[in-house]
Structure formats: C-alpha cells, structure tokens
Symmetry: C2
Subunit: 449 residues, 2 copies
C-alpha cells in the first residue's frame, strides 16, 4: 500500500534534497503523519521543504497542537499565506482549536474576503450545516451557456470537491437550480444552463443538524449539498468528505453514549484526565441510582438470609434483563441514528420487540427456573417458579423501556442516546429486585403463616 511505502522510504532518507523531493511527491495526509511524528525541533524544517500548495494541504492534516507550534515557529508571512489559502471551513475548524490570542493575531492578517468567510462559518452553532459548510462553490446565472459555464468553472480554480455541482441563483443569490459537472460536460456548449439544470434541488438550511445533512446526502447519493439561509439564499455547500467524517463521528457518539461516556466524543488517545472526566459522571450517577435500589432491597435482608439461594439467582436475573434491555436499546438508538426508523414507527417497533421478547422471556425464564430448581434446598423449590416468572416479566419490561425511552426522547427532539445503557440496566435491576423480593417475601409469609 502506498502509505507504508511512503513512510518506509522517508525514514531512510539522509539527504535533505531527496527528502524535499519525496515530501512533495507523497499525499498530504501521509506527510502530515510524518511531520507529526518528528521531534518538535525538526518539524519546522521538514515543513519548510514543502511547496506552497502542498504545504497548505499538509497543514490541514496536522493535529491542532502541531499546527499551533508551527504557527509560532514559522515566519509571519509564511503563516499568513498558509492560513489565508486554507478552505474557509478548515480555517474555521483551526481557529476553533487555537488559543484566542493566536486566532486574533491570525485574523488580523487575513484579507477582508477571507475574514468574512471565516466569520460567517464561525457564526453558526457547532453541529449545524452552517458550521461544516464551505463558502467556496460555483454559482451560475440561468442565462449562461454551457460553454461559458465550463469556462467559468475552469477560471474559478476551486477546490477539488467543490466543482462537481454548480448552482444557479437569481440576482439575490436565491437558489433556483442545480447542474452537475457531468451534465455540463455532456451537453453542447451553446445550450443554456437554465435549460438543462434541474429545479428540484435537495437543499439544507444553515441550522440543519449535521447528522440530518449527512443522512440526506447519503439518501440522494450527493457529492455536495447546497446550504441556504432563511431567505433561501445560497450561502455555502457541504461536501462528501465532511459527510464521511460526520457519519463516523455520529456513530462513535452513539456507541460511547450507550456505554455511558459523557458527550460521546472521547478519542482513543485522550489523556487519562480527560478520559476520567468523561467516564466518571455516569459511574457516579449510577452508584447514586443504586442507593435507591439498595434502599429498596435493604428492608428485605431478612428474606435473603432465610432464602440464601437468592444471592445466586438475583445477579443472574439482573444481568440477563439488563442485557436484553441493552440489546433493544442499541438496535433502537442505531435505527434512529441512521434514519431507518422514526418516532412515528414507535408502535410497530414496540410490537416487534414485544413479540421477540416473548420468545426471549420464555427461554430465559425456563433457564433460570431450572437452575433455581437445582440450586434450591428441597423445602424452597417453590422459589424457582417465582424466579422464572420475574425473569419473564423483567424481560418484557426491558424490551418495552428499551424501545419507548429512546423513541420518546427522539420525539421530544432530544438525543435518543441520552438513555445510556448503564442508566437502563440499573433501572431494570431495581425493578427486578423489588418485584422478586416482594413476591418471595409474600410467599414466605404464605408458607409460614
């Protein structure tokens, strides 16, 4: 594979001229990795070997701390050139990461046009189309011919991802039509753009959440989608490379939130303190919830001491219904995340989950019942039927909560993954223990009374 070849070759190079040649030959993302892995004092040297255009690309792939270090160690003019030539959305992302002082210094050196583009993007809240869009796109008038349009695209010298569609607007930048580069290329030069462009334009608003943008572009197989403001004026486009990142980010968020990692944005390389800050809250909340559960169990301590097999059965009961709940929750949250289901489907999905849970309930109730039968002393065999019954009930409750809770959150326009797995399983534990101990306690009274 290319990457590995590139890396092996670079580490073997002693000659600066040859390194320069190689660094300018291999893809920017690989050069970025190479520079990031160098000792800090060598980074600026390696970076200065890059040609201007390549340097800009490489800079975008460097981790924020290396970007900041380079900004401080390179000449002002050089930095200015690089930051000024970045795509507006990438520049906005960089400014987001850098300390305010550095950003201020950089902004002062941008020209008016660059400053405006960056400010526009930074003006939209994180996680919206406005924030991930780029303000570089091809805009055409309806009256242009295809030949003139292609000429305009050639002159524009836009970034590679932004020329596959061109957007037709009126004089007030109101978005009217879309035409693909492929259509332009396949049409005679003297045809009018307005005649071949389509007026059915899939568009998003600046405040559309980024995951909706990604799902929409996925649905329509788009390489770019136009972003409009409240007056339907074109202000930017979101490109497919951003969609790929958004989809991965959203999936990671779902996974981590389900596992009880706050925010769902922990990087595998986060420092231990960041990791601790993201993970501890849910663990402590959970222990807090368990105090409630424990207070519920505490009055039954005498029951446990007279039916000690409960100490064996209760963890299985808790663990199994917790697992069922987690399975249902994961499938539902993910289904909502990829747009496979919506809150409108709540009843249909609930029906399906309950039907599946009936099978699960029977299988698990029989398993736990049989085990309890084997483990109970002869005079307490009746415990097994209660164990089986409670197992079955708890599985059905697990399936119901695992479906209704995320669906309900989504309907309220909240994040369905707010219900983390730990929260659900702890609740199920409490419900299960309480039902079980209450029933056992009543049975004991019945047999002894």
């Amino acid at each position: 594979m290319l990457t590995q070849e590139g890396r092996v070759a670079l580490s073997d190079i002693a000659d600066l001229n040859q390194l320069k040649f190689e660094l300018n030959r291999i893809p920017a993302v690989d050069v970025g990795d190479y520079i990031a892995e160098l000792l800090p004092e060598r980074r600026a040297i390696a970076f200065r070997l890059l040609k201007k255009d390549h340097a800009i690309d490489v800079f975008e792939y460097l981790p924020p701390e290396v970007q900041e270090e380079l900004i401080n160690s390179l000449h002002n003019a050089h930095v200015c050139q690089i930051v000024g030539s970045m795509r507006p959305d990438d520049r906005a992302e960089l400014f987001d990461e850098l300390p305010a002082g550095v950003v201020k210094r950089l902004v002062q050196q941008l020209n008016a046009e660059e400053r405006r583009a960056t400010a526009t993007i930074l003006g939209y809240p994180e996680g919206t189309a406005g924030r991930v869009m780029t303000t570089e796109y091809v805009r055409l008038r309806e009256g242009l011919t295809v030949g003139e349009a292609l000429h305009k695209i050639r002159l524009s010298d836009e970034d590679k991802e932004t020329i596959y569609y061109a957007y037709v607007t009126d004089d007030n930048r109101k978005l009217l039509k879309v035409v693909s580069l492929r259509q332009l290329l396949f049409t005679f030069p003297d045809v009018l753009v307005g005649d071949i462009a389509s007026d059915r334009v899939v568009r998003v608003r600046t405040d559309t959440p980024q995951e909706e943008v990604a799902q929409l572009m996925k649905r329509y197989d788009l390489i770019a989608a136009p972003v409009v403001d409240r007056e339907d004026r074109l202000v930017g486009i979101v490109t497919i490379d951003d969609v790929v990142d958004i989809l991965e980010e959203e999936a990671t968020e779902d996974i981590q939130k389900l596992a009880g990692v706050s925010g769902g944005d922990e990087a595998a390389w986060s420092p231990p303190l960041v990791t601790l800050r993201k993970r501890l809250p849910w663990l402590l909340i959970n222990i807090g919830l368990y105090i409630a559960a424990a207070s519920a169990i505490a009055p039954f301590q005498h029951v446990i001491s007279s039916v000690t097999v409960l100490a064996v059965i209760m963890p299985i009961l808790a663990n199994s219904s917790g697992n069922v709940g987690f399975q249902v929750l994961s499938v539902t949250v993910r289904g909502l995340g990829v747009g496979e289901i919506t809150p409108q489907d709540t009843l249909a999905i609930l029906r399906k989950e309950i039907l599946a849970a009936l099978g699960t309930a029977i299988a698990l109730a029989l398993s736990l019942g049989t085990l309890s039968l084997i483990w109970s002393p002869p005079h307490q065999r009746w415990v097994s039927s209660i164990a089986g019954l409670v197992m079955a009930i708890n599985v059905l409750i697990a399936a119901t909560l695992g479906t209704l809770l995320p669906m309900g959150l989504k309907r309220l326009n909240l994040d369905p993954a707010l219900i983390s797995g730990p929260l659900l399983t702890t609740s199920l534990d409490t419900i299960g223990f309480l039902t079980f101990l209450t029933l056992i306690s009543s049975a004991l009274k019945f047999f002894n009374g």
Copy 2:
C-alpha cells in the same frame, strides 16, 4: 424538504397522467419509497409509468421483496432491460438477495458482457473490495491527449459516480496512473494524459476487506478508488456512495456486537423471529457463564446469610465494574474500528486506561466504602473496607481486560467486537464476587476464630 413535498403531492394525485409526470420528476429514491408503500397490486402499475432510465434507478432503491415481486409481475422483456442496465455491483447485490431459481432465469437473459461483469463481482467473497466494486470505470492509454480523453469520457456515458477519475493502464490492463476529471478539464486539450496523470495511485486489492477500503478512501478524501487483482491489473473501482454505506454498516455492526447481537447486522425492521435468533444466543451463553459464577458463589451462601448487607453491596460492585469494563471496551473497539489505534498501540493505550482507571477506582471505592459503612450493622463495619478494596481491584481488572481483549483479538486478525459487552461484564461479575466473598469469608474466620 424535497422528500416530504414529493410524498404529499403524490398521495393527492388522482389522475394517472399527472402521477406519471410527477413520478418521473422526483428523485428515484423517493419514488422507490412511494412504490414500496403501495398495495402490491398497484406497484406494477406505478412502476410501468416510469421512463426507462428512471425505472432502472428506482428499481435499485426498492426493497428485495418488492424487486422480486416486480420481476414476477412485469413482462420478461421489461425485466430484462432493467436488470441488464443496472450497475454491475447493484445487479450482483440484487442476485444475492433473490431466490436461486429467479437468478438463473435472469442470468440467461443477460448478454455476455453483463453476465461476465456480474459473475466477476459475485466471484469475490462478501465484505471484500471485489464484491462492492463496480466494473464500470474510465480507462485511458498514456498516449491519449487530454482532448481525446475528454471525448472518450463523453462517449462512455458512464454512471455519475464513476467519471471523476480516469485510470491509465498499459495493454495488459496493469494500473499505471490516475488523472481526475478536474485535471483533464483544467488542462489544454493537446497535452498528453500521461504527462499530467499521477503515478502515485492509492489502490486496493480485490481481497482487501471493505472496511479497509472505506478507511483508505476516507484518509485520502477519494471519490473513487481503483481495485486491482494479484497481477496489479485494474478490475474495477469502489465509489464514495459505497464507502458511506460501508462505514455505516461497520459502525452498526460494532454497536450491535458490543450489545451482544450476533452478527451485528440486525435491521430495526427485522421480523421478531430473526431478532430472536440474533439476540438469544448471547443471552443463553451468558446464563451459561453465570452458572459458573453461581457455582462459585454457592459455597458462600452461609457467608451471605451471616453478612446480609452483602446482598446490597454485591449488585453495586458487579454493576459498577461491569460499566467501567463496558466503557473501556467501547472506546477501544471503536478506536480500532475507525483506525485511530492499532494493536501496536496496546501498551500506550493500556497505560492511559490504567491511569484513568486509578482515578475511577479511588472514586468508586470511596463511594461504595461509604455506602457500606452506612448500611452495615455496627459489628460488621469492617465489611466496608473490603468492599472498597474489591471495588478498586475490580475496576483495574475491568480496564485491563477491556483494553487487552479487543487488542488481542485484532492482533490475531479477528473481530475485536467478538468480545461483547455481556461476556466482559459477566466475567467481571464472577471475578468480583469470588474475590469479595473469599476475602469476607477469611475475615469472618479471623474475627470469629
């Protein structure tokens, strides 16, 4: 948004001519949804209203069962035309889903070229580049001029996703260089393609796993990647729309496997029996594992009956360390999944996780210790120090296993998500209970002896 407009409009249409006009105007994916939601007897009628090209696109978006139904209800010639005009990768996907008898009938009606393309794709194992690639791409010779190349691309009339790159090969189809449509468009027509094409071509092999293809294309921001055979001959390309699907599929797989859903490929709309078959195995395996855990606890029943506060403490101990393990497991599995970390990073990640776990261990040990102190009867206050100690130990074990197990599986080239959350938490429960009960039992002997 377009979709909703389209749907609302369609349901209001009584006139067949107007329906025909509308159906041919709105995007194929929306027409697909519309037809899928119709009553079976109306589907063929609606489908016949579509123009040929649009019909092919719409057909690809229909669910497999509707595709099969249409194949059976439409005229043979019509079906033949549609299936023959599908992109080879989409046709292969369709054949995968249809009953063998129907496939046989369809294959007989394809021409030699179409049959060959489909057979090629179906010859590669599921989940590899060979299986997701399309055999439609633009291939150029080095000696061509840019003008000739653009002319060839215009004539090729390829699908929209497949013309953004053209590949330069020698006479044996060996892949030499790549050139983007943008480069061709921005260069004077009489320049030779060989002079502007790049010889650094990021390529994948037919047997490259699909998730690696997706990660590679994401890394290099590619809209298409060439697929070569063992002799480095170009056989197809993977396009960005497939990458988006692959990334979502892989993320869903990780989430579901972590939650203990076998295969990780359950659709939210799977029928209850499929759901049951995917979810029950892990639940039963888990109860099986718990038999081991319970057999370990059973001999300690006398300990529990004399220290009944254990019935309150043990679920918290199990639940909390299980949650810690699940958090670590999720972050590690996802980190491996998106290529953020590799098994080479095992030691560094383990070090980070242990450091974070030390903080967690202290916090949870103090919480559980304090709670135990409050709940224990005065003569059993010593239980709280053991509870805190075991909590701390178990958190450290959880962090270690949560890191090492997926890393180890990945190093063995197995799926890191093979270790489902339930498997890990059950193991942690067993370890925790055993340590706890052994220590408590020894302490009891010490105090009483």
